[in-house]
Structure formats: C-alpha cells, structure tokens
C-alpha cells in the first residue's frame, strides 16, 4: 500500500494499452501518454508491460510506501529521491516500509512513470484501470490522485537491481525541438499544396493550453482547396468545418486555424477536418514535449508508421534490461 503525501500535478493511475474497444460508446483509450517509458518501468519491476502504474505530469508526487516494494521511475527527469537520496532513473530499486519517494518538477521531458512490482491494484472499469477523469472512471475514484489517499499494490515476486540498456530508452528532452512523424489523411484533400508544404517546413510551437485531450499548436495560417471553401452548407461555414465525423486518436484536428493533435483522452467525433494523423510511434515525443517546444513534422507512410511502432514494441521487453 502506498500513501499519497503530495499528489503532484495531475498524477493518475494508467495501464496500457488502456480502455480499448469503447470508442463507439464514447470512451477514449486513455492509458499512458508515453507508453514506451511506461512499459519499460513495468518491465524493470518484473510486471507485465501493461500493468497499472502512475503517470506524473510536469510535477511529480510524494509517496510513502507503507510496505516494502520494488519500484522503477522512467520517462521525464523529475529528480526522484528516496528519503532524500537521489534515485536512479531507468533502474529498479528496493523501497523499505516507511520510505518516502519524492519527485519534483520535470527538468527534462514532461511525464514520468512510476511502476511498482505487482502493479497498482485498483478494479478495472471497462477492461482497464486507466483514469479517465472527465467521466470519473478508472484509477482511484476516477480522478487524479489526491493527498491522503492510499494506492493498493498487487502481489509480486520481483528482484531489484535491473537497469534499462541506454540504447533501449527514449531520448527525452535533450532538445526543445522534436521531429514528429505524421501520416497524411484522412482529410488531406481539404488543404492545398502550399499548406502541405508549410506543414512539413515550418516550426510549430506547442501552446501551454495542451493536455491529455489535445495538443494545440501555433503556426502559420492554413490555406485550403475548393473542397473546403466551396462545399455543401451542411459542412459549416469555416473551411475547416466538416459534417461531424469520427476522429482517429492522434489526428491533427484543424479547429479554425489552430491545429490540435487529439491524443489519449480526446473526444471520438466532431466537426473539424483532420488533414494528418500522428501515428502511435510518435506519441512518446508528444508526451514528453513541454509548452513552447517546437514540433517539426516528417511525413511517413502507413507502412513506415507500422514499422516505427513495431521497433518501439520490440524494445519494451525484458531483453532491454541489463
């Protein structure tokens, strides 16, 4: 059992791959935003890669372990300490009963993951322990953790002293410029060739108003094809309006002139076009970007996006430990 002393900023229980298969009932997948770091944290403590752990955003929590445990912290650097002594990231550690794990503000990256051997043992809701705070489901009482709460931990037989090989870790926060993959479509025929050129050639700046629902970007004005400017009235007035349609997770949703990348807690439908979609292999980069970071988009094909994702999946196994 773990007691929450300080909750941090929106720290929540997540599992991977999240609440899958409920998009048609209005539930997003949720789950860890950077599932690469998340899965390696679990692998480090001997869990299945998808077991429930904590996602810490921008400012980590302070937790007291009421029982001995084996833990690992991965992802963003939030200077974790155990009873005040620095705790190595990307490694598994023994925590004695009564010890306090404290994470601070994110120095590099934005999201840290804390895995505990045995996993956070909360009841699954619709097949997942992931927190979806808008609907108040999953995790601890459906919301981010709060001071004074306790987090139940499952049973496990695990060994500490494992480390993730440096080559198997994502490179987080070395630069404030991120190369983000994007696949054209589904509505790439609504923006013109000049817009397509700009999309891959300019710097897009991440707005502070970004979260697990959507990532808002600042950039140049968009220009459109007649498909968008000369259309049936039921599509709406603005060129970016379209008759409501379903949204792929990761899609670059053009809301007026503001592109919003719809991410893990996004709505399933709406009335704006989606000229591009960020594939799952690039989600860890979105998760680790901070406001005002720069995104540069690189177009990839669907096949390339599959290959990139498989390459990450291959790293999220015990073979990546030393």
């Amino acid at each position: 059992m773990i007691s929450v002393i300080k909750p941090g900023l929106e720290t929540s229980v997540q599992d991977w791959p999240g609440r899958i298969g409920y998009w048609e009932q209005g539930f997003p997948p949720s789950g860890p935003f950077d599932s690469w770091s998340f899965r390696l944290a679990n692998v480090l403590v001997g869990n299945q890669p998808g077991e429930a752990g904590l996602e810490c955003q921008f400012m980590g929590p302070t937790l007291r372990f009421e029982r001995a445990a084996i833990i690992a912290v991965t992802g963003a650097e939030m200077n974790p300490t155990l009873d005040g002594a620095p705790l190595e990231l990307w490694a598994s550690h023994v925590v004695k009963a009564g010890q306090i794990l404290a994470l601070g503000p994110a120095r590099k990256g934005a999201r840290s993951y804390i895995a505990v051997a045995g996993g956070i043992d909360v009841p699954p809701v619709l097949g997942s322990r992931s927190t979806f705070h808008m609907a108040g489901i999953g995790g601890i009482e459906g919301h981010a953790i709060k001071a004074g709460q306790t987090l139940p931990v499952g049973e496990s037989k695990s060994v500490p002293g494992r480390r993730v090989k440096p080559a198997a870790r994502p490179t987080i926060g070395e630069s404030r410029v991120w190369q983000i993959e994007a696949v054209r479509g589904p509505n790439d025929d609504w923006v013109d060739e000049a817009a397509h050129q700009r999309f891959v050639s300019v710097d897009w700046k991440l707005q502070a108003r970004s979260n697990r629902t959507g990532y808002r970007l600042d950039g140049p004005e968009w220009t459109f094809t007649p498909r968008a400017t000369n259309k049936r009235p039921e599509h709406g007035e603005h060129p970016s309006n379209v008759l409501d349609h379903g949204y792929p997770v990761g899609t670059v949703n053009l809301c007026g002139q503001t592109p919003i990348i719809l991410v893990v807690d996004a709505p399933s439908t709406g009335g704006f076009i989606n000229p591009y979609t960020v594939p799952s292999a690039a989600f860890w980069k979105l998760a680790q970007a901070k406001p005002n970071d720069i995104f540069k988009f690189n177009l990839v094909t669907v096949d390339q996006a599959h290959e990139l994702r498989r390459a990450i999946d291959r790293l999220c196994t015990p073979a990546s430990l030393e």
């Binding site: 298969g21 409920y22 048609e24 209005g26 619709l126 808008m134 479509g185 379903g246 599959h306």
Partner: protein, 278 residues
C-alpha cells in the same frame, strides 16, 4: 449523394475512415451502420472498434493482427456487398425516454450564460422561432412527435447523436457562439439538424430544450439495463421522447437511484431502410 465507391482514407497507423458520401442524407448513415454490422458479422480478426457518424465510419484496427492492405480489401468487399441502401436491414431497439422539456436545470444554464457571457433568447423559444413554430409548446409536440434515429454514440460516454426519422419534425438551429461554459448532465439539446443528450457536465454548443432523468450510461453497471453494456443506446437504435412534468421527473429520478426504475427499451427489431423510405 452516395459516392459510387466509398472513399477510404488512413488515420495514422491504427485507424481508417470510410466516407459513403458528401452530405447529410440519412441513407449515408444507414450505409455506415450497415458496414459496421457487416464487419461485426464477418468477425474479422484485428478489428478493434468502429465509430459511425453522419456519412462515415471510423474503423480502429490492430496492425499486428490485421494487415492494412487486407483491411482495405475487406472493407471494399463488404461495402460493395451491402447492395442498394433500400435492401439494408439493421438491428434496432426503440427506447422511450422520459423528457422534461423547458426544465429548470437547463434554464439555469441558459440564464448563467446570459449573465456571464452574453444575453441570448431563451433556447426553446429561439429554436421554435427559427423553425416557424408558434411557441415552445409546439416545439415540444414536434420534438416528441417523432422517433429519433441514433446516428452514433460518440464524443462523451453514452452520448447519443440523434436525427428525427419523420422529416416533418426536423428542427435546425445554429450552435452557441461562443460555446456555453457548462451543460447540466442529461440535458436534451438540439443543434445543426440533430439532437443530443449531453452525458457529462461539459461545455457545449447545442441549444438546450429539456432534460431526462434517465442515465445514458453507468460505469458500475449496477442497474440491470446496463448489465451487458455500459451505455443505454447504440447506433441504429431509435428514441421516442415522452414529455413529463417536474413531479414525474423527480419520481423517475428517485426510482433510478433506488434501482427500481423499469427502462422502456424494446428488444431488437429489424429496421428496414426500404420500408422506411417507401
């Protein structure tokens, strides 16, 4: 207009979107729901989820279980096998939903908007006026006088997006600009050519006309109606709103909370598109 062949476009590495046409003809939704049913029937391994809307269907797939090119081939074959829209038959239930029109809770949300954002006409009066109806009472008669078709359950948990099956009961209205800051959960609202029931307290753009005491979803699945599904309605179901007054609202709400409310939802019936269009 129905496209001669549906347009299939990728949405990243786990989604594809199928568009059946470019307008809001309800037949395009029938086709989307026909493809959704055909996919389920085919039992294609690796199809994770489907998400229909006015004229489209989003398919989520697991690329480790289903090759992208195979999925496209399968979708084209299944779409072609649907045949003319009049031959479609869809599984559909009819749900009678108690609705308190002109209720005090949505009124409070409208008044709050007028005070904090900008003054506007009372939503039901606004929708009635725009649609040439004599008053809000006629709005209630028109809105509750038709079966509404569930286009999709989307955007929020259990939120049904509805269109009237009787075209004479079509109501159109522009959305709030700027959007409302909050909406009471279970508010019945209209916007564009549709009705929805907002299931969470969230911002919104549709005009508020009423509220139902009946939940659209229940995470705990404690009420028997939610035993097999966490949401009340599914795409291709039909909804008939039954006007109630404040006393009935409180009575039904109490029975829902006690777990003794009997939901009025029929078993699955076959909805024949041909018979509907005839």
């Amino acid at each position: 207009m129905i496209f001669a062949e549906p347009i299939i476009a990728p949405g990243g590495d786990r989604f594809v979107v199928v568009y059946f046409g470019d307008d809001a003809a309800i037949e395009l939704n029938f086709l989307a729901l026909g493809l959704k049913a055909a996919l389920a029937e085919a039992g294609l391994k690796g199809v994770v989820d489907t998400n229909p809307c006015y004229n489209s269907l989003v398919i989520e797939y697991d690329p480790d279980a289903l090759d992208y090119d195979d999925l496209l081939r399968e979708l084209r074959a299944l779409a072609a096998a649907l045949g003319p829209v009049d031959t479609l038959e869809l599984s559909s239930r009819l749900a009678y939903l108690p609705a308190m029109y002109l209720d005090p809770w949505t009124k409070e949300a409208i008044e709050d908007y007028c005070k904090r954002v900008k003054p506007r006409e009372f939503d039901p009066a606004f929708v009635a006026r725009l649609n040439g109806l004599s008053d809000v009472k006629q709005l209630v008669r028109v809105h509750s006088g038709t079966e509404h078709w569930v286009i999709s359950v989307c955007s929020l948990p259990g939120l049904p997006l509805l269109r009237p099956l009787d075209p004479r009961c079509l109501l159109t209205s522009p959305k709030y600009d700027p959007p409302r800051l909050w909406t009471p959960p279970n508010a019945i609202c209209t916007g564009g050519m549709s009705t929805s029931i907002h299931t969470l307290r969230v911002p919104g753009g549709y005009n508020l006309i009423g509220r139902t005491p009946v939940p659209m979803w229940q995470a705990t699945q404690a009420l028997p109606i939610f035993k097999d599904s966490v949401v009340l309605l599914r795409a291709a179901d039909r909804v008939k709103f039954v006007p109630i007054d404040l006393e009935e609202y409180h009575d039904i709400e109490a029975r829902v909370n006690e777990g003794t409310y009997a939901f009025n939802v029929t078993n699955y019936q076959r909805f024949s598109v041909g018979a509907y269009r005839a």
